[in-house]
């Protein structure tokens, strides 16, 4: 029973790690540019602190997942792993919420603040960011399920 539990939780960690890596890759390589009246308008992930936080949070959580997969074969650290699992889940939930909030403003704009939506001009950038967000959603879901084990 303990063995099955351990194998199942390692599989969950592996899936969460894979989704995290996909999210990071798609966010970092997202790039879009548009030409409006002789002005080039580029969009990169590093222009927004929310997306930078997203990438950094994902990287930390992904690194933690690798370490915890290696550490789960020794049973004396279980309390530390429980605490750090919780911190990693909170970090993942945090990063995806932040990126989602800013992406929502970028897509719909905000009439009250006078902010125009950006997605119409750089659709490629928006698509890649959307894929990164969906991958991250699955990663944080698996990380949350992991805690219940």
């Amino acid at each position: 029973m303990e063995k099955i539990n351990k194998i199942f939780s390692n599989i969950l960690r592996l899936i969460a790690l894979a989704a995290t890596v996909v999210a990071i890759v798609f966010m970092v390589t997202s790039h879009g540019s548009a030409q409006v009246l002789n002005l080039t308008f580029t969009a990169k992930y590093s222009y927004t602190p929310a997306f930078k936080f997203f990438v950094i949070g994902e990287a930390i959580a992904g690194g933690y997942t690798i370490i915890s997969m290696l550490l789960s074969f020794k049973t004396q650290f279980w309390r530390l792993i429980v605490i750090l699992d919780m911190v990693a889940t909170v970090l993942l939930a945090s990063s995806i919420s932040a990126a989602l909030a800013i992406a929502q403003v970028g897509k719909k704009g905000s009439t009250h603040a006078g902010w125009l939506p950006v997605c119409g001009q750089v659709p490629d950038f928006c698509d890649q960011v959307t894929i990164a967000l969906i991958a991250e959603l699955s990663s944080s879901g698996h990380s949350f399920l992991l805690q219940a084990m």
């Binding site: 929310a50 919780m86 889940t89 919420s97 909030a101 009250h112 603040a113 125009l116 950006v118 219940a148």
Partner: protein, 229 residues
């Protein structure tokens, strides 16, 4: 003589198990409740109105009033909802701790508390970080997207929002500690019977059943005493 033995056994038992004391968890939950409730209320009542003179017709100026409300931004709406749910959760947990000690569902009380705590922590962390980045955008704007900052026009709105954010982050840290304590409480495995005998507290061969009525006030944590019967 028998009474002295039972007293000694009771004292020995409580020093054998250094579980986190109950009042620490209760205090933490109370503080977290206050923090999240404060964040909800401050952001929920966040509103600022500015009147500008738009044009002058003859001698009467035409005024237009612009308001900044928290409902305009979905991130702040999510923030208010998440903190509201978290404060309700904390209140329910405090009530269950104080008045509902006997409530149990098939022995899953600790597991349910731990799972609910985890869910609330994830929710509050999401709400707090979304509102934090939206506030940063409002304060600094984004030159690449041609978005202007709004904080210089609506200073009180930004200040109140910042205060609500600080309260929410304090509540988040407290709830993280509470959640870790709940999970560890769930995972502490009770010691096996032969270990207790080897400590010398139970003389071997003595029927330990009659200690159940004195020590067994919290039925669950003394489960292994009942096993001896």
């Amino acid at each position: 003589m028998a009474l002295q033995n039972e007293d000694k056994l009771e004292v020995g038992y409580s020093s054998l198990h250094p579980k986190p004391k109950k009042w620490v968890l209760l205090m933490l939950r109370l503080l977290a409740f206050f923090a999240t409730a404060a964040a909800t209320v401050v952001m929920g009542l966040n509103k600022e109105t500015k009147t500008l003179v738009v044009a002058t017709v003859g001698t009467t100026p035409i005024k237009a009033s612009l308001t900044a409300k928290f409902q305009h931004t979905p991130a702040f709406v999510f923030f208010v909802i998440a903190n509201g749910l978290a404060s309700i959760h904390n209140l329910v947990m405090i009530m269950a701790d104080l008045f509902g000690q006997k409530l149990d569902y098939k022995g899953l009380r600790l597991a349910m508390i731990a799972i609910l705590d985890m869910m609330t922590v994830a929710l509050v962390s999401g709400g707090a970080s979304a509102a934090a980045f939206m506030a940063e955008l409002g304060k600094n704007g984004n030159s690449h997207a041609r978005w202007n900052s709004i904080c210089d026009k609506y200073k009180t709105f930004c200040d109140h929002g910042g205060g609500a954010l600080i309260a929410s982050f304090a509540g988040l840290i407290l709830m993280l500690i509470i959640s870790v304590m709940s999970i560890i409480k769930l995972l502490i495995k009770p010691k096996p019977d032969d270990e207790l005998e080897s400590t010398g507290l139970i003389p071997s061969g003595v029927n330990a059943c009659r200690f159940n009525s004195e020590l067994g006030k919290n039925g669950k944590s003394h489960a292994r005493w009942k096993k001896i019967c």
